[in-house]
């Protein structure tokens, strides 16, 4: 008898990855931009682009979110049960 594990619903998986990474991205953004002015960052990175402070904060936040979500995604990948990995065609 082979055990088949029903995958978690996609929504739950996405929420478990995106939500904690969102929280930490927010915290990281606050700390970074409390110490660094996005205008200064702009001057030493892509001065040829027109970027406001608000755009700088937003881009910073999304970059953090991308990284933290990638890390959460890696954790999810490593925590997958063997039964799920061995099942072809499911991705829980």
């Amino acid at each position: 008898m082979t055990d088949r594990v029903k995958p978690r619903p996609l929504g739950q998986r996405l929420a478990a990855i995106l939500w904690p990474s969102f929280l930490w991205a927010g915290i990281a953004t606050m700390v970074l931009f409390a110490l660094v002015d996005p205008v200064d960052l702009h001057a030493i990175s892509f001065p040829q682009w027109q970027l406001s402070r608000t755009a700088g904060y937003s881009i910073g936040f999304f970059m953090f979110w991308l990284v933290t979500a990638a890390s959460s995604g890696g954790t999810w990948l490593l925590l997958r049960r063997r039964a799920v990995i061995n099942q072809i065609g499911t991705d829980g």
């Binding site: 008898m1 088949r4 029903k6 755009a55």
Partner: protein
């Protein structure tokens, strides 16, 4: 809870599907009236009133609360914080966290039941839902049934109300970070910046999703506090409990026999009406004991007290109490844990108040010109360029004069005056010249900014003046 079921697949009938999750069912919390629900209505009005009003208020032309990100200045109740005050803002967050610990140890999840934005906005979304779709029992019945014209109409009205409320919430949220009157004007003229529009819509969507759709699932699956709040609990913490000893054995009874059966010890006080389960916004049965899903909203207390009164039993079958009281031991309010949290809270608060009051009224930042360390002039003197930033934290306009010292013959070439409005940060490019003789590679110098109006306002900042390499020989 793990459930197991056989698959209906004929070719694979030896395998079992292990279901490791239970699909969360939609909860229709029944309306409740009573002391604690009145308290919550009051806190909802106060907190949301503050939220929607604060961005519009200002004193003496200075916004009451504005986290002015575009200008990198935070206004909080008359105090202005700059990025340099980051440590004070961190202190404010630490204070908030410690208060949360203190109140959790004292009275359990007060935060969750009354003050958490999730609770507060969910409450409003449920009011709007009730307005459009009627009471919980009707909503449930209608949702189970097929699509009718009335159902579609009511759903459209509900989502319309939710949408307006969510958009207003998103707009107000962005109004905390950018002046709200300007934002309102821009919206009226359909002239908002891309990012502003994005964040208004993002926060509106988050409000709609969290308070309208996810609700108790946010508390159960997404909230970090729900996961660690039990660490602050002990046997003296106020929790909502069902009095098992008094209530069991539970069971329904006729009203006539209500007291007779009690006297015979056949039944406890719980009439098993399940109203406590029906009103619970997280869908738990409080009679099974304290559970992490319980957000301490006390809806079950209100409804049970009402039932007890109607049965002419004493109220408080479900009540705020402590584990010690339940076990017939004495409860202590003052205990090491409370004292520790209180002491920490007091210490950080004191440090914070001192920190805020001791802030320098003037700040001076000196940055060296990044392009060239020094320049040699035809007359043999050496020149260094700097960018000075002066911040006027006083409430009055100030005229600052800049001087530099630490080297013989050091002088400022060009303007050395700067006029600043209250709260203004001004930049001044400054060029210093010094004689080449006796100049080392690196020379310590000091910049001084002094107000000409108030000479006590003086601030010094060290920097370096670079000389040519040959001066080493």
């Amino acid at each position: 809870m793990a459930t197991t079921r056989q698959t209906g697949n004929a070719s694979d009938n030896s395998s079992t599907v292990i279901d490791l999750y239970v699909r969360s069912e939609k909860i229709y919390p029944r309306e409740v009236r009573g002391l604690f629900s009145r308290l919550r209505v009051i806190t909802v009005w106060v907190l949301l009133g503050l939220y929607y009003l604060l961005p519009w208020l200002s004193i003496d032309g200075q916004p009451l609360v504005l986290f002015d990100l575009p200008a990198r200045k935070f206004y909080i109740f008359g105090l202005v914080f700059w990025p340099q005050d980051f440590i004070l803002l961190t202190g404010l967050l630490v204070l908030a966290a410690l208060s949360l610990f203190f109140f959790t140890a004292l009275a359990g999840r007060l935060w969750c039941g009354y003050a958490c934005p999730q609770t507060v906005w969910t409450e409003v979304f449920i009011w709007l839902e009730r307005l459009a779709e009627g009471p919980a029992s009707k909503r449930k019945k209608r949702d189970r049934g097929g699509w009718t014209g009335e159902k579609i109409r009511r759903k459209i009205v509900k989502h319309g109300l939710w949408l307006i409320f969510a958009l207003w919430t998103g707009f107000t949220f962005v109004g905390f970070f950018t002046p709200i009157t300007e934002l309102a004007e821009k919206i009226v003229q359909l002239n908002t910046g891309g990012w502003e529009t994005f964040w208004v819509l993002f926060y509106s969507f988050a409000t709609w999703g969290n308070a309208g759709v996810l609700r108790e699932q946010v508390c159960k699956y997404m909230c970090p506090y729900a996961r660690f709040q039990s660490a602050m609990f002990d046997d003296d913490t106020l929790v909502i409990s069902y009095d098992q000893e008094r209530g069991e054995p539970r069971g329904s009874r006729s009203r006539k026999l209500a007291h007779a059966q009690l006297a015979d010890n056949q039944l406890g006080d719980c009439i098993d009406c399940t109203l406590c389960v029906q009103v619970c916004p997280t869908g738990i049965d409080i009679r099974e004991g304290l559970q992490y899903e319980c957000i301490a909203c006390a809806a079950c207390i209100d409804v049970c007290d009402d039932v007890m009164q109607r049965m002419q039993y004493p109220t408080g079958l479900i009540r705020y109490t402590t584990q010690n009281a339940m076990d017939n031991r004495a409860s202590r309010i003052i205990r090491p844990r409370i004292l520790l949290y209180a002491a920490l809270l007091l210490a950080v608060l004191t440090a914070w108040v001192i920190g805020v009051s001791q802030r320098d009224p003037v700040m001076l930042d000196v940055m060296r010109d990044r392009n060239a360390l020094f320049r040699e002039l035809p007359d043999g003197r050496v020149e260094n360029s700097f960018l000075l930033r002066v911040m006027n934290r006083t409430g009055q306009q100030q005229q600052f004069s800049i001087t530099a010292g630490g080297l013989p013959g050091l002088e400022i070439y060009g303007t050395a005056e700067l006029q600043l409005e209250p709260g203004e940060i001004g930049s001044l490019p400054v060029t210093l010249r010094a004689a080449s003789e006796g100049l080392k590679l690196r020379n310590d110098i000091t910049f001084t900014a002094q107000s000409t109006d108030t000479p006590e306002l003086i601030v010094e900042e060290p920097s370096r003046f670079f000389g040519p390499r040959r001066n080493l020989r």
